[in-house]
């Protein structure tokens, strides 16, 4: 959620049980302003918090001119000193998915190890066993996890962002919010990431879409069906969407106002048991 709206928006997503204490909130108000200036970001967002066994990571996101592509992530323990997360590559994602297991520890230099035995040759006699050790430190795991969460479950209401004719994704300043009846449907909320399913849609489905606004996938197409929980909270005035795939991601939107945002406060593990739980 945008750092400028932090002072009221945290209360709107507090229905999930997590909030920040006053000390952290005020520290963020100070440090994110400095962060924005130092890194020359257009906008700074408080992204969320990943709960570790010993300590918690606070994560901030800086956005440049293109809201979708120019993103940088930073983490901190005390909400004051921020460290840049490494950018994610495919090989890094693979290593992390193999080696990193269990909960986050809370120490960026903690090394996860995974020993794999490769067997060369076919027969039992000339088969040479080779041990491959994959090592990943927690900072990389954090970078990959944050990236994955943003890729899979970041949410924006339809119309809040537009793709300009130059291909840049920018905030739509004339976005006035979804109406009450629109907020009831998941297909008015979009994944804020490069689309995967959009090209697979039939021409009939594409007919209603506005290319300026509908350049992202809608939540209602997600598999399995029911991986989102849409409710109205805060005296039924705020639309709150929670992801059941990444437990801890909460999105809010106040209907008829441009206020929206999402936050992740959770243990940073994907809910792989989802198919059993619905």
């Amino acid at each position: 959620m945008d750092s400028d709206s932090l002072y009221y928006s945290l209360d709107l997503v507090a229905g999930s049980g997590h909030t920040l204490n006053l000390e952290k909130k005020t520290a963020l108000q100070t440090s994110l302003v400095i962060l924005k200036k130092n890194y020359k970001f257009n906008r700074v967002l408080f992204w969320g918090k990943i709960l570790g066994l010993k300590d918690d990571y606070f994560v901030a996101q800086g956005r440049g001119e293109d809201e979708m592509k120019d993103r940088k992530y930073l983490y901190s323990f005390n909400c004051m000193d921020w460290y840049l997360l490494p950018s994610v590559t495919d090989s890094m994602t693979e290593e992390v998915s193999i080696a990193a297991k269990g909960r986050f520890i809370g120490d960026p230099s903690y090394v996860y190890e995974h020993v794999e035995t490769h067997r060369e040759g076919d027969g039992d006699e000339d088969g040479k066993e080779e041990e491959v050790v994959i090592k990943v430190n927690e900072e990389r795991r954090l970078a990959v996890t944050v990236h994955q969460i943003d890729k899979e479950v970041s949410v924006v209401p339809r119309g809040a962002f537009i793709r300009t004719p130059h291909g840049l994704v920018q905030m739509n300043r004339s976005f006035g919010g979804l109406s009450h009846s629109e907020t009831l449907k998941l297909n008015n909320f979009l994944h804020f990431t490069e689309p995967k399913n959009l090209k697979k849609k039939s021409i009939l489905e594409m007919a209603d879409l506005n290319p300026v606004i509908d350049f992202m996938d809608v939540l209602s197409d997600d598999i399995p069906k029911g991986s989102w929980s849409l409710q109205f909270e805060c005296a039924s005035k705020v639309c709150v969407i929670r992801s059941l795939l990444w437990l801890g991601l909460t999105f809010y939107h106040v209907p008829m106002t441009p206020q929206h945002g999402y936050i992740y406060i959770g243990d940073g593990t994907k809910n792989l048991d989802l198919p059993f739980m619905l």
Binding site: G15, T19, E23, G102, S229
Partner: protein, 512 residues
């Protein structure tokens, strides 16, 4: 001359272009000229910043505005939105009692100070938002007043996929609820009788020799897992619903499944292994498990109750009372060491109860007609009683699951540590928190009602198929006899018959 002509030419082109712009669309009956005029007027009126960037949207808005006007021939039916309906119901929370005498009585009534709890929880980074907490506070007040509860506290909130449950915990009062249970049991017995009667009327069917394993009896209200009674509501202001008591079978089934709550108490719980009951029962079972696992207090706050039942060594004492001499532990110590925290809710055993019950013994008592041999057998394999950790065991003795320490503790603030509170977070039940500050402490659970699963959930496999019937000669398949064999058999039979007849004849003759 030439210039004039060209001018006229230009004018004509412009006029024809204007005519083109003024051409109505066959579909919408609009034309571009009027549309552009309206768009430009809107821009002039509103003067948006960087108008060129949002031009498309303005154009869309103008078009949409026209559409709405057309539809206004029908009057809108005002439909109450969810927010309005809820506001009507929540209005009752803010009503004040007019009778002054009653008010004085109510001041004496026990009501937890939720706003103080919310203040401390916020320091711990937990909470539902200040306004929501205030509403819950008022809803709790409503509950205490309507039910006349003596002891009540906010237990927490369980999130569901459609709506959430706010859970309040209240102490059981004597002679309160037995009637309900009895009526349910009576109904069940009646049903059984009916079923039996029906069976007797029809042809008797072959009876199964399978005997179900004995059902572990429920713990009485006010003891063990049913020590407290729980009320839930969806939103503060909506009616509170009392949850049913929990049975050991439900606790054991809940241990084996992983399922989200939907937010409807009467929703069926469709899982494998099957869960006995609906979502209200599942909710109650999870609440019992969470309470047993995560309700903690600073060491020394409670002391073991001095009950006469302590004389029996085997029975673990399940009572405790507030220690009047408790001075409070320093916060830094509480944040550092887990041994300063103790469980004050009984551990639930494998059996699904807090106190172990010997099923074999009970069976012996009930079925006296059984033969002595069976009785002897029962005596020999009498099961070992399960014993859980005693009450008020320090948290440092909790077991680890998949290399995850069960608790994380910290101070709420590092900058002003003098006034910080000690915060404890459960890693086994994500969402369970406890704080302690001086003599004050509180537990709360806000989460999905699911235990941390470690690597991944493996649903239990279905039981192995039953063994096939032992194959013997009487059921073995044989080859069909050929025609020759049949004829040979026929001949043999005929010969035999003939021989018998001869014998009979001879016998007859002899008789004569």
């Amino acid at each position: 001359m030439c210039l004039k002509l060209r001018n006229a030419d230009r004018l004509q082109t412009a006029a024809s272009f204007k005519a083109y712009l003024l051409k109505d669309s066959t579909k919408t009956n609009l034309n571009l000229y009027d549309h552009l005029t309206r768009v430009l007027m809107k821009v002039m009126d509103e003067r948006p910043h960087n108008a060129v960037d949002v031009f498309e949207d303005i154009s869309r808005d103008v078009k949409r505005g026209l559409f709405e006007e057309k539809q206004s021939t029908l009057r809108d039916l005002t439909e109450a939105t969810a927010a309005e309906q809820l506001a009507e119901q929540q209005r009752l929370l803010f009503s004040r009692l007019e009778d002054a005498d009653q008010e004085e009585e109510l001041v004496e009534m026990f009501l937890p100070n939720v706003s103080e709890i919310a203040f401390y929880l916020e320091q711990a980074g937990v909470g539902l938002g200040r306004e929501e907490m205030q509403r819950i506070f008022l809803a709790l007040k409503q509950l205490v007043e309507s039910q006349g509860l003596q002891h009540c506290r906010l237990w927490g909130k369980i999130l569901g996929t459609e709506s959430s449950y706010i859970v309040a915990e209240a102490e059981h009062r004597e002679g309160d609820e037995e009637e309900e249970d009895q009526s349910i049991e009576a109904a069940a017995e009646e049903e059984e009788e009916k079923a039996e009667a029906e069976e007797n009327e029809n042809d008797p069917l072959p009876q199964s020799t399978y005997k179900p394993p004995p059902v572990v009896p429920k713990e009485a209200t006010g003891t063990g897992a049913n020590k407290f009674i729980y009320y839930v509501c969806k939103e503060p202001g909506l009616p509170w619903v009392r949850l049913p008591t929990v049975s050991p079978a439900q606790i054991n089934a809940a241990r084996q499944i992983r399922k989200f709550f939907t937010g409807r108490l009467d929703a069926p719980v469709i899982t494998y292994p099957p869960f006995p009951g609906n979502e209200a029962n599942y909710l109650r079972a999870q609440i019992a498990r969470i309470s047993a696992g995560t309700q903690v207090s600073p060491q020394g706050y409670y002391q073991a109750g001095e009950d006469e039942s302590n004389e029996e060594d085997e029975v673990p004492h399940d009572t405790y009372e507030v220690n009047p001499d408790f001075e409070g532990l320093p916060v830094s110590e509480m944040a550092d060491s887990l041994s300063t925290w103790v469980h004050h809710i009984q551990h639930i055993l494998q059996q699904g109860r807090c106190t172990w019950v010997n099923l074999a013994m009970k069976q012996g008592d009930e079925f006296n007609e059984e033969t002595e041999a069976e009785d002897r057998e029962e005596e020999t394999d009498e099961p070992e009683p399960e014993v859980g950790p005693p009450l008020l065991t320090p948290l440092s003795q909790d077991a680890e699951i998949t290399n995850t320490p069960p608790w994380s503790s910290k101070m709420s603030s590092t900058l002003t540590a003098q006034h910080a509170v000690a915060v404890l977070r459960s890693n086994l039940w994500p969402g369970a928190y406890a704080y302690a500050c001086g003599k004050k402490f509180e537990n709360i659970y806000i989460g999905w009602g699911l235990k941390y699963a470690g690597v991944g959930y493996n649903p239990p496999v279905p039981p192995l198929p039953q063994r096939e019937y032992a194959s013997g000669p009487e059921i073995t398949e044989a080859l069909d006899p050929t025609l020759e064999e049949e004829q040979a058999l026929k001949e043999a039979l005929e010969e035999q018959q003939a021989a018998e007849e001869e014998m009979e004849d001879s016998e007859d003759e002899e008789d004569d």
